[in-house]
């Protein structure tokens, strides 16, 4: 659920305060782009979908009941905006895979306590994960990104994708297994048990 500051911004934006809405946008724009860039591989489409999502927020806020969390609602609008954009484009996707040279995918990870070599390994794995995500069916990709990047619970993902809990569970499980398979096959995972990555554990 929203924290007090965020709730105040939501209330003010609902009442029509543009400054509060701008603050809300800044609070969530990275998360929204993180989703649109992975669902709309074309950068222009991703930006358009991000804008549409926030416009839908502005428009829908007076009716936002808050029984779902704001972020879950936002991601739902974002997912819808992506599909609307792709549909509007009539994007016939054959061969329209993401360009791996896209700036969005060319990620430079700031290293804090990692050694340069660890940082390089992680960066390499991250790049492979981005590639692997693009080999997944989009509905698996959306569920996995919402889980791992946005750190939503299964219940929240179910709301964001308007799918039931069993479906979400299955998409995450299948998506992760396919991603793992991709990483193993492309040599981005060491043989089971020998991975140096494993000691690092989860992020939360």
């Amino acid at each position: 659920m929203s924290n007090p500051t965020e709730q105040a911004l939501i209330d003010a934006a609902r009442a029509g305060e543009e400054a509060a809405f701008e603050a809300l946008i800044r609070l969530y724009e990275k998360k929204v782009f993180a989703l649109t860039r992975r669902l709309c591989p074309n950068p222009d489409d991703a930006a358009e979908a991000a804008q549409d999502a926030f416009l839908a927020v502005w428009q829908g806020l007076p009716f936002f009941r808050g029984d779902a969390g704001f972020s879950t609602w936002l991601y739902r609008l974002t997912t819808n905006a992506c599909m609307d954009v792709l549909r509007r484009e009539g994007r016939h996707a054959a061969g329209a895979g993401p360009s791996l040279d896209d700036e969005a995918l060319n990620i430079d990870i700031p290293s804090t306590q990692e050694t340069p070599q660890q940082a390089a390994e992680r960066s390499e794995l991250r790049r492979a994960i981005e590639e692997g995500l693009q080999t997944l069916p989009p509905e698996y990709r959306a569920a996995l990104v919402l889980r791992e990047l946005h750190q939503l619970s299964y219940g929240e993902i179910a709301e964001a994708l308007d799918a039931d809990l069993g479906t979400v569970k299955s998409r995450i499980s299948r998506g992760r297994k396919l991603l793992r398979k991709y990483l193993l096959e492309t040599g981005n995972f060491s043989p089971p048990g020998a991975s140096k990555e494993t000691g690092r554990g989860g992020r939360q």
Partner: protein, 297 residues
């Protein structure tokens, strides 16, 4: 080393903290002795550790300002700024529903899954073949009548082109229920106009809930594959879908396809001996794939 079948379905929920405490303990205990499952969990955690981070997203500096100026330009009008009240769904419906063809098309498609899930015997390809063998001279939806009659024969197991009228009848039987809730998003409305009639919450509800979603007045004029898959069967199709346009990600997954991909998927389904319902339309019509996954155990 492979993870065990028994625990394979629990491992993801374990990693995601979605298990009951009893099951969490059970899995934790199992991991002590099972290298295969442990390596799966390790891999999942390694993926998590290296997963792309929102902090890496470069957002254009002027993005927020751009959204605000779009708001000021009236691209997301609220309440009284609308032509119709956002809650006045009837008025909206009436306005958009006028082109009967559009709505019939929508209802036909909206009803499709009702038929689809109701008709379990659909799975029996023998029954399907039998249906297909009965020629029906008067299909209810013209576009389907336009499907090339000769082409269906070669792959009778999965094609039901001449059985389409039967199918349509059943689809139309779902019309009454489907119409009031269905979004009739006439595609000739420009992107901006769309906001004048449809609230964002409507958009959210409709874009994902009423599956399959159609926004095309010529909805019946499409090439469509409808198929129910197990997750494993879905995985077989996965490589063919990764670069396709997802149109709905609710319970019913809808993809817009190219003609080439449409036929590749059809071929793959035939190769896997997976029964599917196929409708064909004239050249230039869009190609779609409708997937419903079987419940996950």
């Amino acid at each position: 080393m492979k993870y065990c079948e028994e625990y394979g379905t629990l491992l993801d929920a374990y990693v995601d903290g979605e298990l009951s405490s009893t099951d969490t303990l059970r899995v934790a205990e199992h991991l002590k002795t099972c290298g295969g499952c442990r390596s799966y969990v390790d891999a999942a955690l390694a993926i998590r550790a290296a997963f792309p981070d929102e902090e890496d997203e470069a957002v254009p500096e002027e993005f927020a300002a751009g959204v605000l100026s779009a708001v000021r330009e009236g691209k997301a009008p609220r309440g009284e700024e609308r032509e119709t009240s956002p809650v006045d769904k009837k008025a909206r419906w009436k306005k958009l529903a006028l082109p009967l063809a559009a709505c019939l098309a929508l209802a036909v498609v909206a009803g499709q899954w009702q038929w689809f899930s109701a008709k379990e015997s659909f799975q029996a390809s023998a029954a399907m073949t039998q249906d297909a063998a009965i020629p029906d001279p008067a299909p209810m939806v013209p576009a389907l009548a336009a499907a090339p009659a000769g082409e269906g024969g070669g792959a009778a197991e999965t094609r039901s082109t001449s059985g389409a009228a039967d199918e349509n009848e059943k689809r139309i039987a779902g019309t009454e229920e489907a119409v009031p809730e269905a979004e009739c998003d006439a595609s000739d409305d420009g992107g901006v106009d769309e906001y004048q009639y449809v609230t964002s919450s409507d958009r959210a509800e409709n874009a994902l809930s009423a599956a399959p979603v159609m926004n095309d007045a010529n909805a019946e004029k499409e090439h469509a594959i409808s198929v129910t898959l197990t997750q494993e069967q879905g995985d077989v199709l996965a490589p063919l879908l990764s670069d396709c346009t997802l149109e709905s990600s609710g319970e019913d997954v809808v993809y817009l396809l190219t003609a080439g991909r449409f036929h590749e998927i059809l071929a793959e389904l035939e190769r896997q001996n997976i029964p599917a319902s196929v409708t064909e339309a004239s050249d230039g019509a869009p190609y779609r794939l409708y997937i419903r996954y079987r419940a996950f155990s």
